[in-house]
């Protein structure tokens, strides 16, 4: 086994301790000091929708709260701004809004405000990135009375609860009067009040003494806010982030590289804490629609997949485990035990290529563009490795690491349509926080709609009516037959060699001694889960 693999094992041990933290009753000590978190990139904005995936806005949930949330420890849903919620029918959820909550701008959080906020976040017109968790239906919200909000999807939607745990609730007053502020001055209800965003440096927030959670006994979190202020400092250099924790500049450094995590073992003053995530690294090989005909040949596709040493790639990534041959981890609804990892068999790959060539396929015309996005951690060695692997079985490759501006359009249908005859394998990361295969299958395999370039399956490259129809059936179904039909679909796409899962990522943190940090598979940094211990 390679160096880095053994490393990730030892780290698995480290992560357990983080989960071992027991719930401590709210300590009422006056908050003091600043929690400095070194994050790997500057947010592009701090809009309410960003709360769904903190890669864009780490720590936003300290300012902006959701109706309900996923409990980092149990993984179940817990009340936040909604005290209770009930299913009316397959399409509808009804939320009871918490009393006496005010936004940081002083305006009360009325049912109206909540509805406005939800509509803003989920409106297809705004086309926020959160749309990748929308669909097939469209979501809208309305206030029934001052304490009740009803959220509806125009199609039966078993995932509605989950979706409601994503979008942040922000001040309706701000949305009405100064929408431009919405993007860089979040006004929420959370335990911390947004203070300032110094471009290129940090954004910070100060303790909100009027936070509802201080009085509510069903407040979420393992502790009361221990810190007078939060500061999220942007540092793209891995070494720099690590050094900040080591030198006490920061208490927590996000996503250290495997090598930094190893160092932590023999350095004093801080430790590396890791835990599994729902994020996986995958390679998606162009298929139908605008792809080069060569890629339609199943032998060639299989050859490509066979030439990938997935163990090696996962090991190269560092803190990651080798995934099954399917997106999503064990325990997800629709997970198929029988679908194992794709094999690594270069010889077989070469045979297949030979066969294809014998049938008149022009293998020399095969030149696969392996593309990654430069914001993805460790992407460069990964794509280089993949390139080398394909090369070793005689498949030509181009290697590219592109900026989001170049990359994003190309992996969406609109851009794809502009590059007919493409041979691209995009190497990218995706999260599946929902615990259900529905969204996965929808966003990755359903046929994209060129007229709806921002729709949920905008980044799929696969078109298969048969598959689509059975998928939409499955998504509307509940319980066991949902699980069943999903499993079949998983097997189906596995055999089509569409997407190769490369690594199921662990995420790690360098944490200063004296800090207990609890996080879930969605890896959010929330002060109420960060505890000072002596």
């Amino acid at each position: 086994m390679t160096k880095s693999r053994t490393a990730s094992r030892s780290l698995a041990g480290a992560c357990l301790c983080a989960f071992g933290v027991v719930f401590s009753p709210l300590a009422m000590a006056a908050p003091e000091g600043t929690l400095v978190v070194a994050v790997n990139q500057e947010p592009q904005d701090l809009a309410a929708q960003g709360a769904y995936k903190e890669i864009n806005a780490t720590g936003l949930r300290n300012v902006m709260e959701t109706l309900i949330a996923v409990d980092p420890q149990t993984g179940g849903l817990i009340p936040v701004l909604a005290t209770a919620w009930e299913r009316v029918d397959g399409n509808t959820l009804r939320f009871t809004i918490r009393e006496g909550v005010t936004f940081h701008d002083g305006t009360p959080m009325t049912a109206e405000a909540v509805a406005t906020s939800i509509n803003w976040v989920w409106s297809p017109d705004n086309a926020f990135t959160i749309q990748e968790y929308a669909g097939p239906g469209t979501i809208s919200a309305a206030a029934l009375d001052e304490s009740t909000v009803e959220v509806t999807s125009d199609q039966a939607d078993p995932l509605l609860e989950f979706r409601m745990s994503l979008g942040g609730i922000s001040s309706a007053e701000q949305l009405a009067n100064s929408p431009e502020k919405h993007f860089d001055t979040p006004v929420g209800t959370g335990p911390y009040r947004f203070n300032e965003w110094a471009r290129g440096q940090y954004w910070d927030a100060t303790y909100n003494e009027d936070w509802w959670g201080l009085s509510a006994e069903d407040a979420y979190g393992t502790t009361a806010p221990d810190f007078a202020a939060l500061k999220f400092v942007f540092r793209s250099e891995d070494a720099a982030r690590a050094a900040m924790v080591q030198s006490g500049e920061a208490q927590i450094a996000m996503f250290p590289s495997a090598s930094e995590c190893e160092r932590a073992v023999d350095e004093d003053g801080y430790a590396c804490v890791t835990g599994p995530s729902t994020t996986y690294l995958y390679g998606r090989l162009d298929h139908s629609l605008h792809a080069d005909m060569l890629l339609q040949d199943p032998r060639i596709r299989e050859a490509v997949f066979l030439s990938l040493d997935i163990d090696g790639i996962a090991g190269l990534y560092g803190m990651a485990s080798v995934p099954q041959g399917q997106l999503g981890a064990r325990g997800t609804i629709g997970f198929n035990e029988n679908v194992g990892p794709y094999d690594y068999d270069p010889e077989r790959a070469m045979e297949l290529l030979a066969e294809a060539e014998a049938d008149g396929q022009d293998i020399s015309g095969l030149n696969i563009e392996v593309v990654g996005r430069d914001t993805t951690p460790r992407i460069k060695p990964i794509v280089e490795a993949i390139g080398a692997m394909l090369g070793s079985v005689g498949i030509g490759t181009d290697i590219r690491v592109q900026t989001p501006q170049e990359f994003n359009p190309r992996v969406r249908i609109a851009g794809y349509a502009n590059e007919p005859g493409r041979q691209m394998m995009q190497v990218h990361v995706k999260q599946n926080p929902s615990g259900d295969y529905g969204l996965l299958l929808l966003s990755n395999y359903a046929c994209p709609n060129i007229d709806d370039p921002t729709g949920p399956s905008r980044s799929s490259v696969y078109c298969d009516e048969e598959f689509d129809s059975s998928l939409f059936e499955a998504m509307a179904s509940f319980g066991d037959d949902r699980d069943q039909s999903m499993q079949e679909l998983v097997q189906y796409v596995h055999d089509r060699h569409l997407i190769v899962p490369l690594a199921l990522l662990d995420r790690g943190y360098l944490v200063e001694d004296g800090i207990e940090f609890v996080f879930g598979t969605d890896h959010r940094i929330q002060a109420v889960y960060v505890d000072k211990v002596e």
Binding site: D238, A239, A242, S257, E384, A385, A388
Partner: protein, 308 residues
Amino acid sequence: MDTNSIELEARKDARDVRVTGSDYLRAILKDRVALAASIFLVILVVFTLGAEFFAPHRPMGLNLRDGLLPPFSSGSKGEFYLLGTDELGRDIFSRLIYGARVSVSVGLIGAGLSCLLGVTMGLTAGYRGGLYEDIVMRLVDGMLSLPSLLVALFVLFVLGGGFVNLILVFSVLHWMVFARMARGLALDARTATYVQAAKSLGTTEIRIVFYHILPNVAAPIIVLLTLEIAILILSEASLSFLGFGVQPPDPSWGLMIADGREHIRSAWWLVTFPGLAIFLTALSLNLLANWVRAVTDPVQRWRWITAS
């Protein structure tokens, strides 16, 4: 008797020595620093030309088992890695040698092209004079006062990075220095007495420029060329570091530093060696240029040539 008095005069000026190639050779052998520099450069060039022959491993060969091995360690199949390996298990030393090929050729070709362009523009401008000269020199001044690295970035951002574009951008953004110098030299030469003399002897213009002027202005231009090569090698590193230069998987010194950055604390050799390579190359070029300037400078020459 008359000739005798001439001989006496000759002895009076005994300090003026003509400088031959062998003198230069002797001089550089005496000047330890310059000697070291030129030896380094010779080795570099040899390695660059014979990369296939000198590199112990394939620069692109993937070998995940032997990732991040420190210098002087041997891999799983017992192969020896002089300067260690990167995270893909590729031999740093081999990549340095192949990287030299990229970096050095960018420097050489880029500087060469801009020199060609600049010197032609400058010499003609300086010798021809008039409106043509005005226009050229305006252009030179204008382009010189542009933030060149920035413009380079922007252009590469528009055209996209890569070896060829890099060289194009460099030659377009660096010819001015040569033009300015060549023009200055041409101006001096035009008024120099020996050129006037040649003219009065009925020597043709072309012959004056190429037979009389060129040899007299060659030295400073060579010096500048050497310096520019160094500058371009540095710029290539910077641009590649930013991802606008040479594209992976081609090894380039700048890229190697960029890649090694993540492991800078745990695997120092990833960043240190390519950094040193660039540093030593640029330093050697500068030292050499410095030396050439000194020995070809008519004022200093005598001191340097007879120096030990």
